[in-house]
Point group: C2
Amino acid sequence: MRWVRYQSDGQAVYGIVEGDHVQPVTGTPFGDHQRSGNPVALDSVKLLAPVIPRTFYAAGINYEAHVREAATLLGAEPNLPEKPDIGYRANNAIIAHGEPIVIPSDATERVHYEGELVVVIGKQAKNLSEADALSCVLGYTVGNDVSERTWQASDRTMWRAKNTDTFKPMGPWIETDADLESMQTTVTLNGEIQIEFPTNDMIFGVETYISAMSRYLTLYPGDVIWMGTDGSSKNLKADDVVEIEISGVGTLTNPLVAG
Amino acid sequence: MRWVRYQSDGQAVYGIVEGDHVQPVTGTPFGDHQRSGNPVALDSVKLLAPVIPRTFYAAGINYEAHVREAATLLGAEPNLPEKPDIGYRANNAIIAHGEPIVIPSDATERVHYEGELVVVIGKQAKNLSEADALSCVLGYTVGNDVSERTWQASDRTMWRAKNTDTFKPMGPWIETDADLESMQTTVTLNGEIQIEFPTNDMIFGVETYISAMSRYLTLYPGDVIWMGTDGSSKNLKADDVVEIEISGVGTLTNPLVAG
């Protein structure tokens, strides 16, 4: 099932994608809901980010090639994580599929994409074993962890490097029937494929992260976990278009504009 | 004015503290609201954290003595911040005034309090000058940035060191009429004063942080900014009680229990 969140009469509502239409529902995928009203054409609705999380988690470093390439870019030694220590991103930066990534006027040329699998939590969970970890997952969406590398290297935190407004595109929808092992992530820049990698080729997988996190923290419906990316990125500039496809989940497309 | 959030018939509602009573309101302090119903005794209501923020910001390092003492504890050189790079905490960890801080069974003895001023944003804001920065502030509350120092030193991120469930007490209310310059922070452990410091004796003040942040990010109603703490802490243990008073704002009290 594919859950979309979209604008209807100025309100954010959820619907279920069926072919090229959206079946509106009352309620949300995280609680009671029922079909309500007539289907509308998918390409006629203004998509919103599929959820604004209560807590926005991000693995950050979770693919070996990315660790080595990021270290080179930052002028540091590669430092592979020894355990699944989760990080955070910020809700102010979230935008939807199709919306523009705005490059601040004082950003350097080193603005990069990071194509990421996003896990969407559906049920409150604490102390899950790895075997039970996926029981709290509603489904998956796609994220672009846009990063300004100069600020990432110079600042004490990743606040503006990663969380400048519009730097966290997420969407287009939540796919509930995807299989981690068969996913492939493909990043395309202006129509040219830049990188392809097996999505689940992570240092620490989804089950490992959820189990480790839920030992100390409660996961809530609507929380998201961005699972990190592989490889590196060309410098992005205004009028570029980045597409991130995860097979079986969907394709997230966003243009870049000058701020 | 003092805004409390509390439980009423199983719902989270806001009210205004008037003497030892709460005047219920419909709506929230962040939008339309009006008085509705009869006052109830303040000591009869179950207080909730005054807000669950859209984004939970934290300055982290913002008082010089704390930087020097924390560096000693972590076995590192003191590293004074050169600019107001904001950090983050996580909503899962928020608890209310009076609720217990649960020490995980595998935590070391180095569980510490940090008494902090919390700025509560009332209006959406972007690109505020320092002179205009306080125009987006609704008021202030008190936070205890509970920290497990061994994990803080060993982990790649501060996820469990700072964001284990119950590690972020916040409250008891939002005070809208407080003056930054006259505030004094006092931390009391089991009835004995541990530290007192001028709340506004920050490396970077509230106006500086808000102005710097809002250059890159939009602040939203309900966002909170925890402003950091001074000094250090004894190791906390089960049955301890920590009180953090900020004069003109309020007193946040939480017991500790073993998990």
